[in-house]
């Protein structure tokens, strides 16, 4: 079955980001197709490549990146939510004349249309709120 996952919680602000990751991993292990993982609100913080938790703590940014690479996941970060929280890709950094960019590999910035598309194209959609 085709599932989409909406993630609204940041890795540090709530448990939601970790639960969403576990759910996605379990769904893939069961052979389901993940149509899209959409990061919105504070969920976008998971896409920062600069997150550097201590070694004995879970590094969700890396975990998502690795899961995304393994399964070629469409991991979309809402561009408006990301920009205002300082998560930028090279193109946006240039456009807004910022000195650095930090969008982690495997994530894509795009618009809320991708959330609506997921709502229409997926068999199931589940939200992990903060």
């Amino acid at each position: 079955m085709k599932l989409s996952i909406l993630v609204y919680g940041s890795p540090n602000g709530s448990q939601a980001a970790a639960t969403a990751y576990r759910f996605t991993k379990a769904a893939l292990e069961k052979g389901h197709e993940i149509y899209r993982v959409f990061f919105y609100g504070d969920g976008v913080y998971a896409a920062s490549a600069l997150n550097t938790p201590p070694q004995d703590e879970q590094d969700l940014s890396s975990l998502w990146r690795e899961l995304g690479e393994q399964h070629n996941l469409d991991m979309v970060v809402c561009i408006a939510a990301a920009l205002k929280r300082g998560v930028l890709d090279p193109g946006e950094a240039k456009r807004f004349e910022k000195s650095a960019h930090n969008l982690s590999a495997g994530f894509t910035l795009s618009g809320l249309g991708q959330m609506m598309d997921a709502s229409q194209q997926s068999d199931r959609m589940i939200t992990f709120g903060y």
Binding site: Y8, Y40, G41, D42, L112, M115, M116, S119, M125, T127
Partner: protein, 122 residues
């Protein structure tokens, strides 16, 4: 897209300014409207506070959501529902709200949930 589209229920449960949720939920709703997706909005819990009149956000430096919500009917979003018990427990009269809402009791809210094809939980 709209002819075969799944109808969406957006559940708005947070007050307008304590965090970004109401603002970002409204952005999502406006996007759904721009895509001409069939859309209903249910305001419950503190979400009903989004609909109070006389919001003046100058003092807190936030964008006034009550100025944006009334544009939704111009995008053909016309199904606005509020949960009766959320209104009652907050002492709000539906006639004073900034959108023309239909008040639903809990049985009607259950039907609304059951009839939607896709839920956006905010």
């Amino acid at each position: 897209m709209s002819t075969t589209a799944k109808n969406i229920l957006a559940v708005m449960r947070t007050g307008p300014y304590g965090n970004q949720t109401a603002k970002e939920a409204l952005d999502a709703v406006l996007t759904a409207a721009a895509f001409e997706l069939p859309l209903s909005l249910l305001f419950m819990d503190d979400g009903v506070f989004q609909l109070l009149p006389q919001q003046d956000t100058q003092g807190i430096g936030a964008k006034d959501l009550s100025a944006t919500l009334p544009v939704l009917p111009m995008y053909d979003v016309e199904r606005f529902y509020v949960e009766q018990s959320s209104l009652e427990s907050r002492g709000i009269n539906s006639a004073e709200l900034i959108l023309p809402v239909e008040v639903l009791d809990s049985e009607q809210v259950k039907v609304l949930f059951a009839e939607s094809a896709s839920i956006l939980s905010f």
